[in-house]
Symmetry: C2
Subunit: 706 residues, 2 copies
């Protein structure tokens, strides 16, 4: 479904990943009149050179950005994030290109000839006896034929928008999934899903409707020179609802702000990217029957909802399946003796998710996200130590380069994109709408979630989430995908400005905002080396202990006894706990042992009549290296820096096991019980108390038969 | 100068690095009749899907290859190298695509309309009132218009040949330069340069002339159906003279064969790739004045030679300069605190070499090679430990993927390429010619080199070099670059067969050949882990001690006293030693200290009036960490596995210092002297004897003031 958004767009130098070789297509060969051929050769060589130069421009931009980032990090400057920096450099180069280069277009003279039928994709043209092949590039609205003749240099630095979707976004999104702080993510899963799905939908519809009002107003005032449908407004709502984690999270990471807030923000922004993509596809797919109705149509609406669900679950499945296949392959071969092969396989399998999803008509970017999560959850455990760092580092570099490229391209696009339509009314309206749209989902949703959460989302957290809703790469990529019509061009220009504004202001304001909201962060920022284990604990726990209730069972008790609907709430709590338990036990007892070298041997978890299969599927390491592997597993989790085990979501902490009276029982029962339900109970129950009693003990990786 | 070879070629799905998004250009947008638009949408989506599927095919191919490689490595199968394997899988898929898919081409109906002038690059076509933009794709010879309508699936799996040059070759070549075993390379530099430059030129001309004879014969017999010029034959000679190190060296590495043989083969094949590229560009640039003369023209010839020298030295300079700039940047910033930034910078700078060279009209691939060597020599020393492994691993993975992709594409191309011309006479002639061409440069050159070398290149080594001249990725990339004419198509098909044959036969025959030639290898193949330091020494020294003269000064004595021309040889030896010394001392005293954190402080090597500059340029680490850095440096060299310090090129081992009587002096003088000349003398002199006396001591990284 990536299809419906793709349209004709500005010229495509295509050479994102290597110098203009792809333009070879513009060449003519053969062995005819030498002079003419020489001229064509020369032209093509010139074009190739220009391609190289334009790509070189981007590389130098990135290099400059890297050096400045270093300077900023070196001097602990935090008012401007690297992505904001990349945009500024992009802006500067954009200005230079726009006003510093001559705007002649030389040889690109358009030629017209008439044809009867609908356009062919390939065209043969007879030029004084020789045949030349042309390929269809796209339609041009009759009023804008002169636009085809544009500045050559500006053409060169304009990429096909699909480059963003097919080359730059996948590594960014995969990295987000792969580096997900698993534990905190899963612990806050309920809230994250609520924010991502409900929140994005609410935000999309509120922004869409508000913008429709703005558009109506513009029509009244006479500021609108072309059509602007309701569906366009909704599409804008979907596009601009994709929040970007980059800037705020980088600062959170640096300041070691609260991990649960981090998990909420990160989880929300990662998942809502996926939701926003699929949502925008669904809105495009929303085509009311009949010609001129862009009004509401129930059938089309439900079709859109169906499309949304279909694409989302399909993409999810694709990602999960390739992740599982990779896990199986890495488990049952001894590939880990050859880290190079292993890394290459990992890379190829992850990439194939994207292609597979696209080939099946799903959304590659969404599939890649879930693939990343699956790979981190299962495959990662099977990799050799070297491959673990290799894969992490590989995707880290790819992510870094792609992200900074996108942001510097954004800066550039403000000046080099040829079809900007800046409408002050629309822009101001959009800023108000995104503010209201975010407010309208953060606060009500938080209120609802707090009804069910054991550790409530405090007001300061809510304000911080409200503030951190900045827009970035995904909104840009969605907006630039289709700039064929008047409305889309206006939406694109507005999105660009919103991204600029939010990245600079929000990025720069995060640190002051954190202190203003009294969200405790580590006071001085130690490097990993100088940070001892105890430091780590201190900074990671983060939240001011005398401001929030201490991490005992107080908050839980308060929650249980605070109102008339506690019984009902208790039920939903139990339900979600039950659902989570089911998944957890299934994952722990069957999936992990089947897919990885960790977990309990299948021979103990499967019924006895499955003995043979169980023995086949259980890797010998499970018996031999259980101790060692468990440690590795906990190392991984430790790396993610998760010592605030005290702030659990209700979905995870089981009802009975969190009182202090059960702690000892749990610690004792560890030696005797072995079912996963009990393991989970012990883990979660013990986690709370082990932190308070022992301080640094980690329990999540199960130790059911220690 | 990459230009002149580029021509029109089979359709380009372009989507090497991401699923077909780049084909978005074929789309038409706008808001017209919904039905028609929907049809176009659907078509485009279908095309996008096919693109994804075709790329997926390649990924699955690579995955399969990786798994089989693992199986082979696991079972120690050595008769087929991974590249050979990739080709076989490619062949199988090629057969399936060729004979298993329907050959209809649906919507790509060509359309003709007449035009007066020479072709425009952009074409506007009026289709029932709407305008569509087309771009020029290339000329089609009138007889082959029907060829435009070809099998859709075959089109999809055919890449633009420039993809090889601009995307796949650079990482391969950069990796070759970056992982060059510096020490052995530089020690055999004279011989390597001779083989690469003289050898390739000789081979090119011999093959070219022999093939011209074959072509004449074919004309006589009536097997030639189109023109085949002398310059085409020379071009074929240049293309097919590029040997590929991959297969043989992988086996050498695995078997731990002799390091000097390894250095010679590796150095030759890496450099001769560069020579072959530039040579083929020069031959294309060789255009005799006048229309129909493809005969010899002195002016054009010298122009070609000038072009060769210009491009080669220009590319060399580009590579060296960006390498030096990277070294300076990494030295004078504290970027090494942030390995991610450092790695990204390293990657970008190395890539910019390629673009810079292409933008200036030089050859990017050649520039990248020398950039890799410079980076390894200087920048590597400035990187943080993490970045060192990151950069190495990053380029290792890229190299691995690119290489296997090329080889599987080769297998595929045998069946999917649409314009094969297999001529038995030409093919047999080519096989004979490459055999003779290689023989005609290996044996005579080795004879000449042996006159000057202290450690002669033995007959068995010569036979091994003769045998190892297999052709691979570079020959293929050069051949596929231009397949527009009859002669070039025949050359391409022949090259493909030669690559197949040599990779399979030579790859499979390396192990038997090594034992047949009595080239001693490590008997069992230990992994790096299980290999102790002493093992390492044993395997790396490699050559049978009781077959070759023992590594004392015997061979040197024999050389000095063995004939009437010893005086003259001594002079050339001294001369080359003088040249090498000059470079070595310059590098050691000025370049290394300026560009890296190692080497002696500039304050000691520069004259005293440069005191200020010297102090600015010398990094404080040089004083503080000299000990530590020296160790790191030697670690690096140790990693390259170079303990056969006993087999020096005469260019390096200084005349007086290799007798046993100087050893003690050197070891003593180490404590007093400090000039680089003496340092070099000591190093090289002491190296010989330290090996014999202590066995594992490494001396090359200078220890002049220990």
């Amino acid at each position: 479904m990536a299809g419906p958004l793709r349209r004709r767009l500005p010229p495509l130098p295509l050479l994102l990943l290597a110098a203009g070789g792809l333009r070879a297509a513009e060449r003519s060969g053969g062995s005819s009149s030498a002079m003419e051929e020489l001229a064509t050769e020369k032209e093509a060589e010139e074009s190739h050179r220009q391609d190289s130069v334009s790509l070189l421009t981007f590389i130098l931009l990135l290099t400059l950005t890297i050096l400045t980032i270093w300077l900023f990090k070196h001097r602990r400057v935090r008012f401007l994030h690297e992505t904001g920096l990349a945009m500024i450099y992009g802006l500067i180069v954009g200005v230079i290109l726009r006003y510093g280069t001559p705007s002649t277009s030389g040889h690109d003279k358009p030629f017209s000839c008439s044809q009867e039928d609908r356009p062919f994709t390939t065209l043969l043209v007879n030029v004084s006896g020789k045949f030349f092949e042309y390929t269809l590039k796209g339609e041009i609205s009759p009023g804008k034929i002169h636009n085809v003749e544009q500045n050559d240099m500006l053409r060169k630095v304009t990429f096909d928008p699909e480059v963003f979707f097919n080359i730059l976004l996948p590594p960014i999104i995969f990295h987000a999934g792969y580096s997900l702080k698993k534990r905190h993510f899963f612990r806050n899963l309920g809230s994250i899903l609520a924010y991502a799905f409900l929140g994005t939908a609410v935000s999309c519809f509120i922004i869409g409707n508000l913008m429709y009002g703005v558009v109506k107003l513009m029509k009244l005032v006479g500021q609108l020179s072309d059509k602007f449908y309701y569906t366009d407004c909704l599409l804008f709502g979907a596009i601009i609802s994709a929040t970007d984690p980059v800037t705020v999270l980088a600062i959170f990471n640096e300041l070691h702000a609260d991990v649960d807030l981090y998990a909420l923000l990160f989880g929300e922004s990662v998942l809502n990217d996926a939701v926003a993509i699929v949502l925008s596809s669904s809105i495009v797919a929303y085509q009311p029957t009949g010609e001129n109705t862009h009004a509401f149509d129930a059938a089309a609406f439900f079709k859109s909802v169906g499309v949304f669900l279909g694409i989302f679950s399909g993409s999810f499945m694709m990602g999960a399946v390739t992740g599982v296949v990779t896990a199986l392959v890495t488990k049952f071969t001894k590939l880990h003796c050859f880290p190079l092969l292993e890394t290459a396989l990992f890379f190829l399998m992850s990439w194939s998710t994207f292609l597979l999803a696209e080939a099946c008509g799903f959304t590659g970017v969404v599939a890649v996200l879930f693939c990343g999560i699956t790979q981190a959850h299962y495959t990662y455990n099977n990799l050799s130590v070297e491959s673990r760092s290799r894969t992490k580092q590989l995707f880290e570099v790819l992510h870094f380069l792609a992200e900074n490229f996108i942001f510097s391209y954004m800066g550039l696009a403000l000046f080099t994109f040829q079809k900007h339509i800046f409408s002050p009314v629309f822009i101001i309206g959009a800023f108000v709408a995104i503010f209201l749209g975010r407010a309208a989902h953060i606060y009500p949703l938080s209120f609802l979630l707090n009804l069910g959460r054991r550790h409530k989302i405090s007001w300061s957290f809510q304000h911080m989430m409200m503030f951190s809703g900045l827009r970035g790469a995904m909104a840009f990529a969605l907006a630039i995908r289709d700039t064929a019509t008047y409305s889309h061009q206006m939406m694109f220009s507005t999105t660009l400005l919103i991204v600029f504004f939010t990245v600079w202001i929000v990025g720069g304001g995060t640190t002051p905002m954190l202190s203003w909201l009294n969200i405790r962060v580590g006071d001085h920022v130690p490097s990993v080396e100088e940070m001892s284990e105890s430091h780590w604990l201190y900074f990671r726990v983060g939240v001011d202990p005398d401001q929030d209730p201490p991490p005992t069972n107080d908050s839980f008790q308060v929650l249980q006894g605070d109102g008339q609907d506690s019984a009902q709430r208790n039920r939903t709590k139990q339900e979600s706990a039950w659902l989570f338990r089911l998944w957890y036990s299934f994952d722990h007892n069957y999936l992990k042992p089947i897919l990885t070298h960790s977990g309990p041997p299948l021979t103990t978890t499967l019924p006895s009549w499955c003995g043979l299969i169980a023995r086949c599927l259980t890797s010998p390491q499970v018996y031999d290296n259980q101790e060692q592997l468990r440690e590795e597993d906990s190392d991984f989790i430790l790396n993610d820096g998760d010592l605030t085990v005290t702030y659990g979501d209700t979905t995870i902490t089981a009802n009975g096991s969190s009182g202090p009276h059960t702690a000892t029982t749990n610690l004792d029962s560890r030696r005797t019980k072995s079912s996963s339900e009990e393991a989970l109970e012990r883990d979660l129950g013990a986690a709370d108390h082990e932190v308070t009693s022992r301080g640094t003990r980690l329990v999540f990786p199960l130790e059911y038969n220690a």
